[in-house]
Symmetry: C3
Subunit: 332 residues, 3 copies
C-alpha cells in the first residue's frame, strides 16, 4: 500500500466501532513501516486494541476475527521468535499463515527482484510481514504491494513492532509512560531496538539514561534529534549511578564481534551483566526488559524476580501483533 | 491413485452438480500428472470450476469446501511460488497444509525410497502435491499412493498445473483460444512450461510462433507431434516479424548457463528483452505472459501496460489450483 | 509442566467423561517424557482415546476438539515423519501448528539456552512437541515450561510416542498383548525405539526374543531391568530359530556406521533382510513392524503381504498422537 500519509489525514474521524466494522478501522489498509509514522493518538488506539486482544486470548484462546485471511510471513533472515509471534498472532485470530523462509526462497537465488516477489506473493495473501537484511526493503515492498506490508526488521533499519511491543509492555506493567525514567544498557550503537524505542518514547515526557561502553554509545544524531524534541537524555559508563532512579531498565546484548580487542569485550561484557545482586540497588516498583535472546547479560537467577519482565514482554508482543494485523486488515 | 485411465472412461456422465456432491465430481480421486491426460471437455470443466473459485474468492475470500482435508506439500526442490500457490489454494478452501521442504526431508538423506515416503505421508494427508527433480517421479508416486497425487514439476518433465493456469489465463483475458496466434519467446529448448502449454494448445485451433536463438529452438519431436495434430507452427529468430499479429506473447527466461560462449549469451539476451518500445508494434488487444520469475526479459516499465498479464497470471494460478484440489478431493 | 508425579497421584479418580470436559481428563497438563511414566491403567486409557480418534477420523476426517489451540512443533533435528505426524494430528483436531525447524532456529545459533527458547515459545503456543539431539532435553524443557511438553525424541534417550504407537499397533492388529511372543531384530544396541518398546511390553505378560549381530546386542542393563520384572527374554544370532513362534516381528535398521569392518556390515546386513521367502516360516497370524524409514531391511515384495503392518503402523501413530494432544490439553 502507499505509505507516509500523515497520521491525521490517514485517520477516519470516528469513534472506535465494534470489531469487524471497517468504518471504525483507522489503520485499514495501512503499512507498518517505521515508528515515525505514529503519533500519541495512534499509540493510544493501538494499545487499546492490544488490550482487547489480551482479554480475548485469556478468555477464549482464539477467535475468528480474521477467518479467511492469509498472512505471508516472508523471512529473508531467520528469526524464529518474531516469525513465531506473527504466526501465532494470525492463527489466534482465525487466519492462516504461509511461512516463507529465506532458505526456501528459491526465486531470490534465481535473481528475482523484491518488487516481483512481493507482487507474486500478494496474489496469495491478504497481508505481508517481511524481515529482510537491507535497510528500506520493507518500504520498497510497500511501494509495490497493494496489500498491507508490516516491517518485521529491515537490517540495521527499523523493527517497529518490537518498539511498539516494548512500549506496550511498559504501559501494561507500570500503567503509564509519562514521568518514567528509562535506562538503556549495553550496545546502544548498533541496536535498532533501542533506537526505535527511544524515538517512540520521545512522544512522552520521559527521562532517558544511556549506559554503554565508550565504543557502543548511542548515535549522536539520535541524541540530537531527541534533544530538539525536548527529551531529557544523559549518558553513563556505569549502571550503578542510575539504577536507583530507574523505572525501566532496558538491557541489550553486547556482541563480541563489535570489539577489536577481545580483552575490551570481556571487560565490557562483565560490567553489564544483571544479577540479583545488581538488582539490590533497584526500586521495588520497576521492570527489567530485554528484547531476547539474551546470552548472559541477565543471569537466569533473576528470572524469578517479579521485576524481570522479559518473558512477559514476549507475550505482550503477541497481543500487539494481533492488534496490528486486525487493524491493517480493517477489523479493528 | 492409478493413472492414465482414458478421460472418457474416467468421467462420470452426469451434469455438474453443486459443490460437495461427489456424484458430480468427474475427477474425484484422480491424479494430475501430465497435460496429456486432458481433452477439451476436461479443460472446459476445469476452467468452469476455476471461474467459480475466482468468483467465490472475490466475494468471500475463503470458504470451507475442503474443511477437514489435509494437503501434503512435498517439495524436493525449492519453489516458493508454486508451493505458496498450492498452500494458499488449500487454505482458501478451508483445508490445511503440511509443508515439507526438501531441506527437512531427513528420510531422503537416510536413503528412503520415494514410494515409502509417499506411503508414509498419505497416512497423514488427503492429497499430495509433489515437486521433484527427476522425470517420472510424480507418476511413480501416484503408482504407490492411494490418495490423489498432483505433479508440481518433475524436473525437465512436466508441470501440468502451470500449463493449465497459462491456458486459463488466456481464456480469461481474451475470452477464447480458438483462432489466436500465440508467440513463444526465449529458451524454447529447455522450458518445460512452453512444451506443456504448446501441447495443451494443440487441442485448439491456434497458430504457434516460436522465436528463439538457434541453439534454444523448440525440440523437433514436439514440433513433429503437433504437426501430426495439424497445428500451424512457424519458427523465427526475431520477434519483430511476428509481434504485430500476436495475440499472446509468452516470454521465457534465457539462462546464461545454457550458452558456451558468454558473448553469445549477451547477444541473445539483449535480443529478447521486452520493453514499452518493443510493444509499440503489438496489437492493443493482446497479452504478454511469463511464468515468472523474470530476470530482465521484460522491463519493469512494462508492468503498468494493461497488456502485461504476468501478475494476473499468478492470480489465475490460485483459482486453477483451488479447482484442481476441489476436484480430485471429490468436491467439484 | 512439572513432571514425574507418580501416575496414581496424578490421576483424577473419575470416570471417563465426554470429550471437552476437563474434569475427566486425567492427563490434563501433563508432560509426555518417558515410557516409564505410564502404568497399565494409563495405557488402557490412552489406547481407548486413540481408538475413538481413529473412529472419528474415519467417520468425519477432522473435528474441532482442539480449535483455538496452538502446537509449537520444535525440531532441532530433521524428522519429517514424526513432525508430519504431530502436524497432522493437531490439524485433524482443529488446532494450529507453528512449525519450527532447526535450520531456522536462529536463536540457537545466537547462543540462546533451551530454557529461554522454551519460555519464549510457550508465550505463543498451548503445547510444545520437541525433538532434540541431547538426552534429557525434553525433561529440561518441561522443567521450565508452564505448558505441556511432549518428547518427540531426545537423542539416544527416549521417543515415548513411538513406543506407544508401536504398542497401540500390536493391540489393534492382534487384539491383545498378553501371551504374545515379540521378536526384535537388527540393531538392538543403539535403537531407542526397541528399548522403549521393550520397557512398555514389560508391563504385560510377553516373551521377548532379541535377534542381532554380536556387536549390536540389547544392552545388558535393560535385559537385567526386565529380568527383575520377570519378563522372559532370550537372545539369538539367527532369526530362523524363533520366527515360527513369533507373533510380532519388530525389524530395525542395521546402520553401516556402527561397524568398524565394512565386511562385517555386509555380512550382518544380509543376514537380517526380510523377504517373502523368509516369511514362509512365519505364522499366518502375525505382524511385521518397522519404525521406518527402512533401507533394505524389508524387501518391497513383502509390502503386499497382509502381515506387513509397517504402513498401518504409521497410521496408528496419527491416532495415538491425536489422543495424547487431546489428553494433555484437557480435552480427553
Amino acid at each position: 500500500m502507499s505509505t507516509f500519509i500523515p497520521p491525521n489525514e490517514r485517520r477516519v474521524q470516528s469513534p472506535h466501532l465494534p470489531f469487524g466494522d471497517q468504518r471504525g478501522a483507522p489503520f485499514y489498509g495501512n503499512d507498518i513501516l517505521s515508528v515515525l509514522q505514529f503519533n500519541r493518538e495512534d499509540l493510544d488506539y493501538i494499545f487499546e486494541v492490544a488490550k482487547e486482544m489480551r482479554a480475548m486470548v485469556e478468555r477464549v484462546g482464539t477467535f475468528d476475527l480474521l477467518k479467511g485471511k492469509i498472512l505471508a510471513n516472508l523471512f529473508y533472515e531467520p528469526s524464529t521468535r518474531t516469525s513465531s509471534s506473527f504466526f501465532s498472532a494470525m492463527e489466534r485470530l482465525g487466519g492462516s499463515v504461509i511461512p516463507i523462509n529465506e532458505v526456501h526462497y528459491s526465486s531470490v537465488a534465481k535473481g528475482e527482484s523484491l518488487p516481483d516477489t512481493i507482487r507474486s506473493l500478494e496474489c496469495y495473501a491478504d497481508v505481508i510481514v517481511i524481515r529482510h537484511p537491507e535497510v528500506g526493503s520493507a518500504k520498497l515492498a510497500s511501494e509495490y504491494a497493494q496489500k498491507p506490508v508490516i516491517n518485521a526488521g529491515d537490517g540495521p533499519g527499523e523493527h517497529p513492532t518490537q518498539a511498539l511491543l516494548d512500549l506496550f509492555t511498559i504501559m501494561e506493567e507500570l500503567e503509564r509512560v509519562d514521568g518514567l525514567t528509562v535506562t538503556m544498557l549495553g550496545d546502544l550503537k548498533h541496536g535498532r531496538t533501542v533506537h526505535s524505542l527511544a524515538r517512540l518514547l520521545s512522544l512522552f515526557v520521559v527521562r532517558l539514561n544511556y549506559v554503554s561502553p565508550e565504543i557502543l554509545r548511542m548515535p549522536s544524531e539520535l541524541i540530537e534529534d531527541l534533544s530538539v524534541q525536548g527529551v531529557s537524555q544523559k549518558e553513563f559508563r556505569e549502571l550503578d549511578e542510575v539504577l536507583p532512579e530507574t523505572d525501566v531498565l532496558y538491557v541489550t546484548r553486547v556482541q563480541k564481534e563489535r570489539f577489536e580487542d577481545p580483552k575490551e569485550y570481556e571487560k565490557a561484557k562483565g560490567a553489564y551483566v544483571i544479577t540479583p545482586q545488581t538488582m539490590q540497588k533497584a526500586k521495588d516498583e520497576m521492570i527489567v526488559m530485554h528484547p531476547l535472546p539474551r546470552v548472559g547479560e541477565i543471569s537466569m537467577e533473576l528470572d524469578q524476580d517479579p521485576r524481570a519482565a522479559y518473558f512477559r514482554q514476549m507475550e505482550y508482543g503477541l497481543y500487539l501483533r494481533m492488534a496490528l494485523l486486525a487493524m491493517v486488515l480493517g477489523k479493528a
